[in-house]
Symmetry: D2
């Protein structure tokens, strides 16, 4: 059996660990061969490959990113894309694909399976917003980076009696902000799932200032105020939502004015997705890669590998992507306990 | 309501996060008061206390260890220990105890509850070997430290074409070694749950040497060879088990002789339990602390806070301590895939 | 003898280590007493103090920031500021001041010494741009943080075949960008001391793209293009210099257009100045603090502690602040060797 | 011109950065070619080479260890070793060698230069005990690792009111222990240069215990007591010196008995030499590599690259190796200020 592997969407710590584990198990236990497709779905569409055996992957466990490179190419948005994949797979003797990616990449895998291409999926997103799996690899690394950033920002906030607003990735789901906010001891945590009242936020900061305490506000890039939020370059929609970007700057500016305290915004951005994966992410990614090799060997296509409790299981891919997994109210309440003085 | 908090057994990253969260929720949401008992169960036995309010705990989230200090004192092994606890609690007006600790500390909490003392338990062990909870805080931090150590040892092993044996904590359960071994890319992982054949281990190393590859062996301090293992200062029991300590040295010496390769043993020891907790452990510890405050408020005594999937739940304390949670065969198989060349 | 200590200007990893060392040596070896002045020069002007003895400072070695808090208050810009300092020192029985700070704080210390106030200075700036000392503490920590950031950004740049522009602190001196750029393997390094040609920069990126290589550009916030640089919210002055801020964004936008490659800008900002100091900074800060205690004891006022080679020496404070220490051409040449493919 | 590069002795973070910089400058600016000799001096003796150009070295800046591998082979201890080197260099068309290593490797380079082989040397030792250079790369990384270890051990020491003895590398020079001891806030620092009085050490610990404080003792593996030190497997020589190894264990055992406090010894060992280099070491190593390429180009053989103040200079190799650079009394005094309560 000959198996193609590809990685799609944004890079994520742990991608290489998945590739390495799948190649190891497939070659050693099942005698499979592997071929790497470069640049996500662009690889099988255009037939761009790279060798993929144990010698290539043995040393990549601790490397962030993906040795297969990535892209956001979607074969269903390209004329003849699906046919090209089938043709290239046939030409290369590739029987099945392991697609590692997020909502978009896995969505394609679901459709391709229906269209007769043997696919299994491995979920990947630092946002942790795929369903059916307790966590996705990359999330733990990203949360640790953001937490370490908050730890550092505390020393500046304290030394200068300031408020610092730290903007954390997460356009639609606040998982990263929630976890890093709790872990970093943020005094306010703002996420896309719950519209915030900027007056209330500023009051928390003011009360802390009056108590002689600095403040850290953790805010998702996709958080929005109940009313009044107008971003520098953005527009407010009918629901008070604004175009993404600049939330941290807006919140900082409002706090500065309302609470009369020196306030700075820090945007973590891409710093959160790079670097070596944490042990948690390496173990999770390795387990998913091993399971993917098993699934392919068993011909159990159309499935996504998932972590449920301490077990790695297989679920239909669409169950992972049908519904965005957002932060439930009771989890947000954990952070709210720490709001204010 | 007035609540006492104590930490027992070995120190563990995340203890302070539990204390902080319980104090925050109890004071802010329920109007409870808190008092810290120092030195584990010695505190309530001897009436040694320290103030415990938000001002004391606000800044301790990122600190390893425990501000309450710890001990291995057991009131059931001290004449009049239990009576002393009751008397001191009454004198101090303490209605209930939050006991944060491992098997021993929680075992006492179970008995005390039966003896009429209001206790809730929060599980703590870097070994991850308590039942009823998917993970215990401290484990993730310890695994990350051990993984980082293995990452570093690889550069020395590679540069000198050596074998390095790294001995990792875990007398009865191999969780830390399994996770750090997988995360660090160890070529052999040896745990207490599965007796190993030193000849087979040495052969893996030999094959790798012949392929021009260095080797890392991760071994739990409680791992044992099927036969032949005699530690410097130890004895072999009827089952081939030996007195603990020195396993890494023995494995290194055997590999050196059998595979004819320069081999060094590194003992991580206490380096694994100190330092600031990872984000995972800070979040987990915080959630357990919040839940403990809720349990006390509801009078739900005799319960241990536990992580199951993504939920924090309460189970009878004894369910956490009755059976040691060891590594199942199928999880060990994940590591075995990577054994050898 | 009774000695006041204050910290002025931006916070910097190592400030607490200086305070701790000075207090230790002064109290233990010379029998001096210490008092902390809070908020930089505002402390002695307004008489705002905090206790400062060994019990207070023993545990602060690894803490970033300053337990004395800081400000940018300048007694020479406040009516009666200098007199207030003299009056408060007399009232508190304070004989001398240890002023820890950068250009502004030390400039005040020079003037105060001339005006009859006993001062010694300890140089502090993460920018490393004070003269007479090989390095200032905080610089090494900041460079490590920026280097680690570049390490992480490489994985994203590589995975997506992108160019990433990382903007590093340094308005007038490029030390941080030079060191982090070299240490992080940046392919172009742009500093305030050398005006750059954006066309040349874009060509480097283009050549690398054509060779299948991603690119990292490290740019100081104070770097400027020879011509053509117009910042979003800025103006170009007669020399082609622009108002500070936004350099990274401009460089990224130009590269994107000229080299036709996806390019992102990351602003490190305050992330560079917080957190625990590196060992280098802890040792340097400790040595400077010890020397400051000696200088005060000997009545050697008007001096700044400085690192020259491996020795800590004392120089007139103004020698540290008279001339900004910028990156010499031959040091920049070290970075240029690595420019391009 | 064709240049051979080799790395000898123990691995050290920064070796790859030297290789990378020398190759870059030599190929790009002087049109030189490079060849890697594997396994230290064994490489040129046995003619074991590997390709060495920019494509090979571009990505190795952040990797610890050495891609050229290392050994302790000495051509002057091998029959015909020197002749073999000459013969192999001639056969491969290699005009000059860049030898990166410590005392032994550089000692050979000095002799070979006298014997007509064109050599330049780059000093390497995590021990920092070579003369003529302020620092050697690898030292800063090792000190940071040891400091981080001490930071972690503090939390365990504090939580359990214990004494922890941490044994740090350094058989003949105490630089690493001095710097990590100061940076980690150790309460006693013991180095090979100054014989210690174990009674006095134990008294420091006792006083701290009575003051309710835990203690960290940092001890070099080569430190020795004035009298009475007998290691488990060692012997005391006429000067009270003992065979190396086990010093930490002995000190811990003595403290435990004399100060009546639970005391543990932790041996850092090889953990100190692996992993990615710090920014300081990457910059230093890069500068030394650039200078070595210049020296070879100029035919300035027999020279060692050295850091003096902020400058990289060239000195005769033997000046680096003639005298071991040990810790002077006045630097040790910096640590002594912090001894005791």
């Amino acid at each position: 059996m000959r198996i193609g592997v590809l990685t799609g969407g944004g890079d994520c710590p742990g991608l290489n660990a998945v590739i390495r584990a799948a190649v190891r198990k497939g070659t050693k236990e099942y005698g499979h061969e592997f071929v790497g497709f470069r640049y996500g779905w662009r690889g099988p569409i255009e037939g761009i490959t790279q060798p993929l055996d144990w010698d290539v992957v043995e040393g990549i466990l601790d490397q962030g990113g993906t040795i297969l490179h990535s892209s956001r190419t979607n074969p269903y948005k390209i004329e003849g894309g699906v046919e090209a994949i089938k043709k290239n797979m046939a030409a290369l003797g590739v029987d099945a694909l392991i697609a590692i990616g997020g909502e978009d990449t896995l969505g394609v895998a679901t459709k391709l399976t229906a269209d007769g291409v043997n696919c299994v999926g491995v979920p990947k997103t630092i946002d942790n917003d795929l369903s059916g799996t307790d966590y996705t690899f990359g999330f733990d690394t990203a949360v640790n980076i953001a937490t370490e950033a908050i730890d550092r920002l505390w020393t500046t906030a304290d030394s200068h009696d300031r408020c610092i607003v730290v903007e954390i990735m997460g356009r639609h789901a606040g998982w990263m902000t929630l976890h890093a906010g709790i872990a970093g001891g943020a005094n306010v945590v703002l996420i896309p799932e719950v519209a915030f009242d900027i007056e209330k936020v500023a009051n928390f900061v003011k009360e802390r200032k009056e108590a002689g305490k600095a403040t850290i506000v953790a805010v998702s890039e996709g958080a929005h105020a109940e009313t009044g939020m107008v971003l520098k370059d953005g527009e407010v929609d009918a629901f008070g939502h604004v175009k993404l970007g600049g939330v941290g700057d807006w919140v900082a500016a409002e706090i500065k004015e309302r609470a009369e305290i020196e306030t700075r915004a820090i945007i973590l951005g891409h710093l959160q997705r790079g670097g070596t994966p944490t042990a948690f992410d390496r173990v999770l990614a390795t387990r998913l890669g091993l399971e993917a090799a098993d699934a392919v060997n068993e011909g159990d296509f159309g499935k996504m590998m998932a972590l449920q409790g301490t077990n790695v299981v297989r679920i239909p891919i669409h169950e992972g992507t049908d519904v965005l997994k957002t932060v439930p109210v009771e989890r947000y309440a954990d952070a709210e306990v720490f709001f204010g003085v």
